[in-house]
Each structure stands twice: as C-alpha cells, then as structure tokens.
Symmetry: C2
Subunit: 162 residues, 2 copies
Amino acid sequence: MQFRERAGTVAGMDAPGYMQQALDAARTAAEYGEVPVGAVVVDASSGHVLAVASNRVEQDRDPTAHAEILAIRAAARDLKTPRLSGCDLYVTLEPCAMCAQAIAFARIRRLVFGAYDPKGGGVEHGARVFSQPTCHHAPDVVGGMEEAACAEILKEFFAGLR
Amino acid sequence: MQFRERAGTVAGMDAPGYMQQALDAARTAAEYGEVPVGAVVVDASSGHVLAVASNRVEQDRDPTAHAEILAIRAAARDLKTPRLSGCDLYVTLEPCAMCAQAIAFARIRRLVFGAYDPKGGGVEHGARVFSQPTCHHAPDVVGGMEEAACAEILKEFFAGLR
C-alpha cells in the first residue's frame, strides 16, 4: 500500500543518516558547478548503502545523469538486476518525472525526499507520475525530510549564479 | 511552437528511413528477449544519424536502459553536450514518462514515434509530460509513423511470451 506523509511525522526516520549522505553528495555536486542534488540507495533489510550519487549532467554531458538515475543504475549494477524491490531511495530534492518513472521501473520500496520542487517535480507536482494509471509500481513516499537543509543548498547555488 | 499530428498527415516524412532503422533496432531487442523498442537520434540539419539504440533493460540489468535513453546518452556523448537542440528522435513506441522527460531535458527538436501506448505511454497518455507546467521544453510531436509495423513487433513479442 502506498502512503504519503511529511517527514516531520516520521520521528527519527533518518537515524542512520541516509539523508545526511545524500546532502553530502549534493554538496559535492555544487563543488563541480552542478545543480546540487544527491541521492542514496539503501538495502532496506540490511540497512546497507548500495549507492551514493551526485547530479553529474554537465560533467558527464548526459541529460539523464540526475543523482537518482545514477544511484539506481549503480545499485542495479551491484545487485545484478534491474529490479530493486527491497531498496529505498533517499534524495535531497523531489524527483522529476524522469527520475520518478525510473524509481517506478526499479520497483523502489520507499522514496524519501527532502525539498519539494513546485517548478520541476514529478511526484507531488506536474506529471505526478505515481498517481497515473500508466504507472505500474508506486513506492511509499515521504516528502520533506531535512527539507530546510536540502532547500538551502539549492538556494545558495542559484544565488551564486546570479 | 509545439505541434502534434498523426504521421499519416506528414507525407514522405520518413523518406530517409529513420523509423525503419528504429524498427531494425526493435527487432534486435526482440532477438535478445527484450521488449522490442528501438530509437534513433538524427542531426536535423545534416540528416546524419547520431545514435541507434535498442531497449537493453534485461541485458544491462539497468531499469533506465530504454532505447530512447540509450540513444540520447550516445548522441550527447558524441556531440559532447547534454543539450541536443538540433536533433530529432525517432522511436517505435510512444515514450514513457521517464523517456519523455529525458527528451525534454535533452531539448530534442522533434519526437516522432510509431505505436501509441495507452498502458505505459507518457506523451499522449498518463503523465502527459510535455503538457505539464513543470516541463520547460516540449518537442514537436508526431505520433503514429509506421504505426502498424511498430505495433506488430510488440504484439508478436508478447504473444511469444504466453
């Protein structure tokens, strides 16, 4: 069953610090002049981190190289399967429609994101990928974990571009 | 300006045979047990084919390895930029939400697809990615080119699985 809630209601959920690792990956992206977004894929049963990735669109000259896509691809490579059914994904920003559909294809168990993205998000905004009849797997969704910290990194980055 | 029409109204548009190349790539996918979808990226000004790709999700154990994603990544690598503004993409099946958003990020000029996909499409169905306010570039869209041939390959593939 799919559930949605704001992270404030899930006390201590980031105790293992997965969102902190995603935030560190977002900071790495900023250092390379990339839009600062970071993602982590976790094996939900063991708690083991399978992949950490930063947005690398400009460095890799790859329009699909969002942090979520890179983390999913790395975890799938690691597990030798395109289906990550027992895995959770932590990401600092609400995924776009591309990443949301990739999360659905990968059968991610739970998506936890930080900042909401009214301008480009595809989960709670715009395409609302998981709510479409064309979406055949929807993860549990938790939005707003470490929201202020995740949003601040993006705000600083875009202020610096001006 | 975005326009949408069925390919039947664009006489001779596939004169260079781009969709035929995409169909060949779809047949290659089927030979490897993959859902048979193929894609081609073309430099619109020169007519040069920059990339041809088949769906490789199972072979690559990569849930993002749809034909469109692989063709876009290959063309971006070739042109050394994540932005393929002067390029057109031909694909045998209506893109899903993941691929549609990737097409938007890549700033593809025109998308030409074959079969419509009411169950999984993200252009004319479901997420309708290009129609969302969160989508900041929409290509021209032509649907239904070589529709019967593109659909037949998929139909044969799924019949063979039963």
